[in-house]
Amino acid sequence: MIWVTQLINGVLLGGYYALLACGLSFMFGVMGIINLAHGDLAILSACLVFLLADSAGISPFIAIIAVLPVMGFIGWGLQRWMLERSLRAGVLVPLLTTFGLAIVIENGLFEYFGADTRSLAPYIGDFAYDSWAITDNLYVGSLAVLIFALAVLLLGGLKLFLTYTPIGRSIRATAEDPDTAALVGINTRAIYAIAAAIAVATAALAGVFLAMRAVFTPYSGPEQLIFAFEAVVIGGIGSLLGTLIGGVVLGVAQTFGAQINPQGFFIAGHVVFFAVLAARLALGAVRARGGIHAFFARTP
């Protein structure tokens, strides 16, 4: 029964990873930018919600509504004033820019909030640890279920948005070929800014739920970035369904790893990530050589 419990916990944890990875995958899929500040932007939003909850006594669930548009605007501004300019200088410069941004956010948060570990759990009451009994021996956390449901809703909603709305179709067209997108009347600068706003807003949502289910410090961002990156690579870059699958695979690997050995939580996740990465590289090499038979025929 313990393995079933861990499987369910892993799947639910995967919902959080999918929520976190969604924006990273979206930004790379549309703009080709790997946002190294993704995790720190998530932590920034957690800090903003913490500030509202702690100083003004606002429920974190209400504070999210105020913080998400702010984070969306930050994403829009980042694209307009930083990433757009750095993209003109080549593909490596945005990577360095977001790396620099991550350092600025971390140290800015440290300066303001200090190094203390914080959590939003005390501000959401019993919901932080409430659970539902499936059987006598099997319980699932209500917050974890909420996060998983939100991840599915968000990814599904994004898929519908990209498929059925004019802005969504424009985002897909711009992601495929920005030059031609401009030739069919799409303002690609505006589309990139909208995509960045969506990506940062989803990171912000993930950050707030991280703060509800666990603890965070101003330096928690890079760790979250690694989890998001692993989920994206496992599930396939740019695929929304893949992001959900990648998150779930990572979550299950980590909970199974933790069940085998307390140290195994991180290691199991990294092992699965490297295994998938190696398999993808090997498959790519085989395809490039014209299939499995041609690959072995040509390999000395």
């Binding site: 179709r169 067209a173 495929e176 401009a182 030739l183 069919v184 009347g185």
Partner: protein, 240 residues
């Protein structure tokens, strides 16, 4: 009112000058065939008109308004649509999505999915297919249809017959003929001189970035165009 006026347009690719001092006027309802050999500057000129390539010098006037510094997306909204060389469809999107994505940013007019399907019957059964899975002829029809969905005042067609099977070329040109008869103003870049002369009422021949021959299709002989195409006029002048 002149629809499009180019004044001494110069365009470069880095250090290479592709278009040299081109001046041209297009009146509403005209079809101009822009012919010339590979590297003559036809595609660069078309992309400059559409706003996809920034001119190094000169002015572009569209309906008497200076659009030289206007970006491509805004130029499309004023009525200039380009069907680029190589089709450049959004391969991961369906035919219908390719059409609809353009319509959302274009002008209002009579072109919609139904009228495009009427003009290009070969797309009727492929509406929900991915553009990347279409044949060359179907892709070209989709590319032209996508441009038409923006209800352009000026349609720029770049090498529409390139890489197509003869039967697909026939089908595409039949549809272009329908557009011309409907009064759409077209600049048609074509390497096939006969094709260009058959559909156009004006012809301009480019060589090494310059227009070296221009006139009404009925007044210009095929031999004159062929000579200009291969630069034989200039070669003769330099030897005499």
């Amino acid at each position: 009112m002149t629809l499009l006026a180019l004044e001494e347009i110069e365009a470069c690719h880095g250090l290479l000058q592709a278009v040299r001092g081109v001046s041209l006027k297009i009146e509403p309802g005209e079809t101009l065939a822009l012919v010339g050999a590979n590297g003559a500057g036809k595609t660069t000129l078309l992309r400059t008109i559409a706003g996809a390539h920034r001119p190094a010098a000169g002015r572009i006037l569209f309906e008497d308004a200076d659009v030289t510094a206007v970006p491509a997306y805004a130029r499309l909204r004023s009525g200039i649509a380009l069907v680029p060389e190589g089709r450049r469809l959004f391969a991961g999107m369906t035919v219908k999505e390719n059409l609809v994505v353009a319509a959302a940013h274009g002008r209002f007019g009579h072109w919609n999915v139904d009228s495009v399907l009427e003009a290009f019957p070969l797309l009727q059964r492929r509406l929900n297919s991915r553009a990347g899975n279409l044949s060359g002829g179907e892709q070209q029809a989709t590319a032209i249809g996508r441009a038409l969905m923006t209800n352009p005042k000026l349609l720029l067609l770049d090498e529409v017959s390139l890489g197509l099977a003869p039967i697909a070329v026939e089908a595409v040109y039949r549809s272009i003929d329908t557009l011309i008869k409907g009064g759409t103003t077209i600049i048609l870049v074509e390497q096939d001189i006969s094709r260009g002369l058959d559909v156009a009422n004006r012809v301009a021949c480019m060589l090494e970035g310059r227009i070296i021959l221009e006139g009404h299709a009925k007044e210009v002989t095929r031999e004159q165009v062929t000579e200009a195409y291969f630069g034989l006029q200039r070669a003769r002048r330099s030897t005499s």
